[in-house]
């Protein structure tokens, strides 16, 4: 590594010089071809802005190379302006903003019943490694507080495990299952990972959002529902799937149920059942993980097509000889 020295200003100079002298790798034509496909509506704009930027720079010395670079930059800007905003997986920002229902001055503590649970959780860890209990305690606090963690709850957990509050904030912001802004009593999580997406999770999310009239991570006016996204929950073989986190009865009645092999129509039915206070059955048939009545657990629709008999013993080994 170079030592910090008085000589280092050169690094800035040579960088910009280098860019000036180098040939631009991407020609205008190349870029235009790449642009065309995703954002065809962009193109009508570009001649105008291009000519504008040409006019702007024509006062100085111009070269074809420079023009090409300008054009490329402009196209890049336009492309970026029309990009889809990145999807947010977490329910909140990575920093806290005070609000009437979420600020460090609000008192928060575990309920009496949960205090016993806290003791039980702490007993799993050596007394000098209390901080190991941070995740189970945050989970318990979230269940108790209607599915989300206000700052004061995280502070309370930090106090119990005797660490600085920021160590708890680090954990709570890392895991997307800890919600740091308000969620509905029923928090619906749509799996968005590749197998579910291929099997139509986007449509399922759209159906839920349209039916409830909310945006992602927004709570319905009655406070009952919110829709979020969760990454792979391990049910790829029964994709697509949603999870319903039920915070309506505190930590005692807390459930976290998987609904697999769902359809846009089906998830709306589930929502309506929840709204009526019913518990939509997790399985259509007892012992089955899927909502599709024609499937048995992860098996194919209409029954098994392979492995119909007991597997044969391995052909190359004589087990009796062992």
């Amino acid at each position: 590594m170079q030592p910090r020295s008085r000589g280092s200003p050169i690094s800035i100079l040579t960088r910009s010089d280098g860019a000036e002298n180098s040939t631009c790798p991407r020609s205008l034509a190349q870029l235009q071809v790449r642009q065309k496909a995703p954002n065809s509506q962009v193109l009508p704009l570009s001649p105008l802005s291009l000519s504008l930027s040409l006019w702007y720079y024509s006062a100085g010395a111009t070269s074809p190379k420079m023009l090409a670079r300008l054009a490329a930059n402009r196209l890049l800007e336009i492309r970026q302006a029309f990009r889809q905003p990145s999807r947010s997986f977490s329910t909140a920002l990575n920093y806290h903003l005070d609000s009437p229902d979420n600020n460090p001055d609000l008192p928060w503590e575990f309920s009496d019943a949960n205090k016993d649970k806290v003791k039980e959780i702490l007993s799993h860890y050596p007394s000098n490694y209390k901080q190991s209990a941070v995740i189970p305690l945050l989970d318990l606090a979230q269940q108790q507080h209607g599915g989300w963690l206000p700052v004061s709850a995280m502070n309370a957990v930090a106090k119990i495990i005797e660490v600085a509050p920021v160590r708890v904030f680090e954990v709570a912001t890392f895991y997307s299952m800890f919600n740091r802004s308000k969620v509905g009593k029923y928090h619906l999580l749509v799996c968005g990972t590749t197998p579910c997406m291929i099997r139509g999770s986007r449509e399922i999310e759209d159906a839920l959002l349209k039916h409830l009239g909310v945006k992602r991570n927004e709570v319905t006016k009655d406070g009952l529902f919110s829709v979020g996204e969760m990454e792979c929950m391990g049910c790829c073989v029964n994709a697509p799937m949603i999870t319903v986190a039920d915070y309506s009865n505190g930590s005692e009645g807390y459930t976290y149920n998987y609904y697999e092999d769902v359809t846009p129509k089906h998830v709306v039915e589930i929502v309506e059942k929840l709204r009526r206070g019913e518990k939509p059955p997790v399985r259509k048939l007892a012992g089955h993980g899927t909502q599709n009545p024609n499937r048995i657990m992860s098996g194919p629709e209409g029954g098994n097509t392979t492995l119909l008999t007991d597997p044969k013993p391995p052909p190359c080994r004589d087990l009796d000889a062992c």
Partner: protein, 608 residues
């Protein structure tokens, strides 16, 4: 690593891999080097120059991160952060304030405090140095200068008794910033915020011209000749025992010996250095030095802090104690008023009562001291001002004896001084002849002394203030003689552990000011009692006859005789509990009191 293993660092594969890593690092890094304060001294920039490609292939949007408010000293541009977490580790492990953390995950990962919180640490400025990019930069230095325009001068800090090694970066006549220099024995690689950010005080409230107070009470700028003539006239009108001289906290050894010689030639020996108290004796060096040495504090297993709050008195020594406590779980006992510590400690009591219990082994902490292998007892220099100082030191001597703290291989008897001039002043014998000389003084010579209680000075006394700042003492002065600050002169200082170090001039002297020793030398000539030195070399050979250790620069001279040689005292301990010696960490001397940045810090960070 295995024996015979060959590591190739310049193959095409290695170069390509490095280029790839650099490309990832620069993927989300903004291209704002031209407007970044780190530009020119940026690790990422250097690495990119040495190992990176000249272009990246990333055409997506770069991410942006919300800036955080870390207080008046550290400016944040969090979009530039490359998530190295050095600042998190520094805050947690060295500074001892667990405020910073790594929040979020993946591309949303960012450094922050989650709940907005300013960094209330006396070492917070160091995160500026350890940040490899421009994410954490100095707020007062923002957009002021480029590092290649600056001239670096390797010198030392004088705002406390540690003598941290620093580099003053200046441009023309202006000090632009102060950075730490590595010295493993003293400040390691850190400096305190006071050291780092006091420099704007060097530009404010400066005294440019000699001035005389005229009949209507205002100051009138005069020539040096006229000012000296006035002082010389008064000097010969007063009796020798009515002459008093006080050296200030920031005085160097050369000017202190000149002051002492000057007053001695006038027939007075009432000369001392402020904060040493007016009834100190300098017979045994071991009774006013940190005998363990700063670096060896790391070997201690039990600390007993008596009347000292190291966090505000000497932040670097506190960092050393914290390092020890963290590494070896050393025990810390503290006697004194309620105060902030950033490590585990036991508050044993508030005053001499606890000291007596400890000396008589009635206190539970006595057993910790008895069982300690290397006990370190640290006394605060704030105790020098107490009337029962000798009794306290005697009681501490008893404790040191039974704890076996003073052995040939270990000396655990320490005094933590408060200011840069104290140790050299005592080595040079700046000890007043009589205790209450200031009450009967007719001529008071203040050499940068701004913390002397001037209410006791009789109203008809003639006060000369020689110094660089219009601080507290100029209000009482009759004549002002402008002197140079530590950034403008070559001067010798001795830190609290007895290590001699020198400052070097980084910037030219302000206005018509002169070096302290030159002023006294010139004044002595006008007064007709010319001092026999005309150069720094000559004044240093005079120092050699008094304290030769002050000429061994960058060497620590340990005390030869143990403090137990002190005669037994019959003085009684008073019942008054110990007091804090430093009320405001950010403002302790004339430079820091003139600093706007230090004023902001005191207003914001000391708010309860």
């Amino acid at each position: 690593m295995l024996l015979g293993m060959k590591i190739k660092t310049d193959t095409p594969v290695a170069k390509k891999a490095r280029e790839g890593v650099m490309e990832f690092l620069l993927m989300n890094h903004p291209l704002d080097c031209p407007i970044c304060d780190q530009g020119g001294e940026c690790d990422l920039q250097d690495q990119s120059m040495a190992f990176g490609s000249d272009r990246g292939r990333f055409t997506e949007m770069k991410r942006s991160v919300v800036d955080k408010n870390l207080g008046p000293l550290v400016k944040t541009v969090m979009t530039r952060c490359i998530q190295c977490t050095r600042c998190v580790r520094f805050a947690t492990e060295v500074a001892g304030v667990q405020d910073l953390g790594m929040l979020g995950r993946g591309s949303g990962e960012e450094i922050g405090t989650y709940v907005e919180k300013v960094m209330t640490s006396e070492l917070s400025g160091n995160v500026i140095d350890i940040c490899p990019v421009g994410a954490l930069t100095s707020k007062p230095f923002a957009f002021k200068a480029r590092n290649w325009e600056l001239k670096g001068t390797e010198t030392i800090d004088v705002t406390d008794a540690v003598g941290s090694n620093i580099r003053i970066d200046s441009r023309g006549p202006e000090v632009m910033r102060i950075l730490p220099r590595l010295n493993e024995d003293i400040n390691e690689e850190w400096i305190s915020d006071k050291t780092r950010f006091c420099y704007d005080g060097l530009k404010r409230q400066r005294l440019n011209d000699p001035m005389i107070r005229v009949a209507d009470g205002r100051f009138k700028p005069v020539s040096w000749r006229d000012a000296f003539a006035v002082v010389a006239e008064v000097v010969h009108q007063v009796k020798p025992e009515e002459i008093v001289g006080v050296a200030g906290q920031l005085s160097d050894a050369e000017s202190m010996i000149a002051l002492k010689d000057f007053l001695n030639r006038l027939g007075s020996n009432n000369v001392w250095c402020e904060r040493n108290g007016s009834h100190h004796d300098a017979d045994l060096r071991s009774t006013y030095l940190m005998n363990t040495s700063i670096a060896d504090l790391e070997k201690a297993d039990v600390f007993l802090l008596i009347g000292t709050q190291p966090r505000v008195e000497a932040a670097m020594i506190n960092a050393r104690i914290r390092k020890t406590v963290r590494a070896t779980n050393a025990k810390v006992g503290y006697i004194g008023p309620e105060t902030n510590f950033n490590y585990d400690h036991q508050h044993l009591g508030t005053g001499p009562q606890t000291l007596i219990e400890l000396a008589e082994r009635r206190h539970p902490f006595s057993s910790a001291l008895l069982n300690a292998k290397n006990p370190a007892i640290i006394l605060g220099a704030g105790l020098f001002d107490r009337k029962d100082k000798d009794a306290i030191f005697f009681a501490v001597g008893t404790i040191a004896e039974y704890a076996n703290a003073i052995r040939p291989d270990w000396n655990g008897y320490n005094v933590l001084l408060l200011s840069a001039a104290q140790a050299a002043a005592l080595d040079l014998g700046l000890v007043p002849e009589s205790e209450n000389s200031i009450e009967s003084a007719k001529f008071v010579y203040l050499m940068g002394a701004d913390d002397v209680n001037l209410e006791k000075v009789p109203s008809d006394a003639f006060v000369v203030y020689q110094g660089h700042h219009g601080d507290q003492s100029v209000y009482r002065a009759n004549v002002i003689l402008p002197a140079s600050a530590f950034s403008e002169k070559e001067g010798t200082y001795e830190n609290t552990e007895g290590c001699t170090q020198q400052t070097l001039p980084a910037v030219p002297i302000v206005g018509d000011a002169r070096d302290d020793w030159k002023i006294i030398r010139a004044l002595s000539e006008v007064s007709g009692i010319q001092l026999p030195y005309d150069s720094l070399e000559a004044i240093r050979s005079r120092i050699r006859t008094v304290a030769p250790n002050l000429l061994h620069v960058d060497e620590r001279e340990p005390a030869t005789f143990p403090p137990s040689l002190k005669p037994k005292v019959t003085q009684k301990l008073s019942q008054d509990s110990f007091r804090t010696a430093v009320e405001n960490f950010y403002m302790t001397d004339s430079i820091t009191r003139a600093s706007k940045i230090m004023a902001q810090c005191s207003a914001l960070l000391l708010k309860k």
